[in-house]
Amino acid sequence: MEFNRSLSLSLGIELELQLVRAHDRDLAHEAGDLIERLARQKVPGEVKPEVTLSMIELNSTIQSSYSGALAELEAQRAAVAEAAGVLNLGICGGGAHPFHDWTERRVYPAERFKQVTQRYGYLAKQFTVFGEHIHLGCTDGDEAVYLTHMLTRYMPHFIALSASSPFYQGEDTAFQSSRLTAVSAFPLSGHMPFVPDWAAFLEYYDSMRGFGIVEGMKDFYWDIRPKPEFGTIEIRVCDTPLTVRRAALLAGYAQALAGWLLEERTRAPSAAVYQVNAFNRFEACRFGCAGQLVDPYARRKIVIGADILDTAAAIMPQATRLGCVDAVRELAEGVRRGYSDAGWLRERLAATGSLPDVVREVSALWARA
């Protein structure tokens, strides 16, 4: 398996979005109609179907900065919102639909998706959750392995900053992000093994293929995984934020952080990161920025929000170099104010009194932003 070289720290964003119907704000099944409609016009990047008919995915092209990605996402947003309006559909950000019934989900009629349903049964339908995937370009496989190990320490940041799935199946889960729990049910979820370099990774990959457990990289549902055909690593822990703007900000933060990790190299990858990973991940999902993470290097606990602010200050020089100062600043400012998408959703529920109203406001927010 060849690792295709790409420009270091180039960016790509995939956004999974919810389709909701107007009359009761439950998930719609009209991805086919919407995509047919969008196929007839020129939209930058790509709009794709996903495993259920209630979901579409926006893909950006390869970008060098978050602001380019933001401009492209904005253009996509406008086109999708316009087409959805004609069909009376709402488009929503957020990691999960607040009250849909998973047994109602219908699978998009394509062979790969049918196989997934065959194999995973109810997990496939319960997996109606919506994430943002951030791609970061790497020059080679070794860089990808290094960045994967180093970024794992910071995954709680991405979980906390993107968390937008506090409600699931009509209930307040008490989590900031309930979505990641749905991912954990799959047998190949989790993280990459602690391998020293790309050659060692290939050895592991070949043995997994030899066992017949995986056919390709797409079978690993890891939090961060190398994507050799794109020449990237892919951060997959983020809930889809409520606005495309926040999605782009997160990509900017990822870029600055990765730039800093590549440049400074003050720490070496450590297996201890994976030892504390499950604890850190839970804290971030459950409590967001108010959770605690264990820093395996400093061997102490620190509040996630405070750790984000420290990190934001540390990476600022790299952010300046890469043109994403504003992104890092805006996210840090939100952390200082105690803002989170999940918190906003809870506040809207308190104000309106019903989840269908929350969904209406979420789709209005997405269309306007």
């Binding site: 119907r21 107007a22 009359h23 009761d24 704000r25 439950d26 719609a28 099944h29 009209e30 086919g32 109609d33 047919e36 409609r37 309006g85 004609v86 069909l87 009376n88 047994t103 109602e104 219908r106 009629p109 065959q118 194999r119 049964g121 109810y122 309106t352 009194g353 019903s354 269908p356 109203d357 209406r360």
Partner: protein, 411 residues
Amino acid sequence: MQELSWFLPSWPPAFGELVLFGALLVAGLLGGELAQRFASLPRVTGYVLVGFACGPHALGLVEGPLFAGARVFVDLALGLIVFELGHRFDLDWLSRNRWLAVAAVGESVGAFCAIYAGLVYFDYSPLLAACAAAVGTATSPAVVMVVAHELRASGQITERMLLFTAVNCVFAYVALTLLLPFLHLEHAAGGRSAILHPLYLLAGAGLLGFAGSQLLLGIAKWLGKREDRQFILLIALVVLVVGCARALNLPVVVALLVLGMLARNLDYDHALLPLRFGHAGQLLFVVLFVLSGASIDFSGLETVALVTAVFVVVRFLGKAIAILALGRLSGLRAGGAGLLSLSLLPMSGLAVVMVYDTAALYPRFGAELAAVVLSAVALLELIGPLATQFALKRAGETQPEPRAADTRLET
């Protein structure tokens, strides 16, 4: 024996309407299940067939007093359905998609013109042809709504079917009402009543619906977002509006459609929760369709077979041509226009009511109108649900019934 007779019933016991009504429900329920399980027919068709079999034109088990006794259930069932249909009418959608509004009105106009032309061609008087065309424009709200519920349908064809049905029902009523002056003049009624009668009907129903919607929204706002409370409120308001419309001689269906439409589109505070029929709704649907089946009368069919066939065919063509012409512009996917036209085929009790309302004014004219329309209604009462079911299934917008063991994992 003599001393026991004070507590034993007389023989044979006088089974009242309640027993008959219960028995009819059981029969309807079984008929619906049989139709669905063994013939893949819509349950609605099963209900209608059972009703027809028990009705005055077949076995004669269901007659006068039972009809009267069940009237309240029928009113409630139809009321809820028509209200929900109105509540699906989304002005925001029409303002974002103007072609959709054009297509919806075009569909009504197409059906009206096609039927009118067809009947005039067969030498019916223009007035009769126009009245029959007005009645024929409407799709049965009950059938499309109940079939959509039964199949758990959701998608563009389903949404448009419901929207177009709401529009063509309003169109049909308004057209028929606007024809009243001609009817009055032809029957030498005074000029004043020729003008004031239709005005009273339309304005009255509109005002009643508006008043009902304001009451509904006001109380709902005060109650808060509680599904159970809002459900009771909704039923209460529907019954209230039906009752008032009857007392004031106003068209019940128009009043309820207006109630539903305004409750949706004037709900600026989003006070109303999305409505859901529970099992109570299902019960009402069985009653509604069994009784509407009981009123099916094929006795006149032989004499008007040709006209009936023409009526059914041109009505479909009129709807289909308009939708084919305008569907694509309104954002309908390729191949959707035919399915949407097919889904709009059903006619039912609504048409019967319109005919009877006219007959109540001018019995002779009413009888002529009935002769033209009612055989077509009888036919479409049976074929219509099949067409709707076929269209929604073919459109891929239905959800199979939940089965106990649906997730067989690969081993």
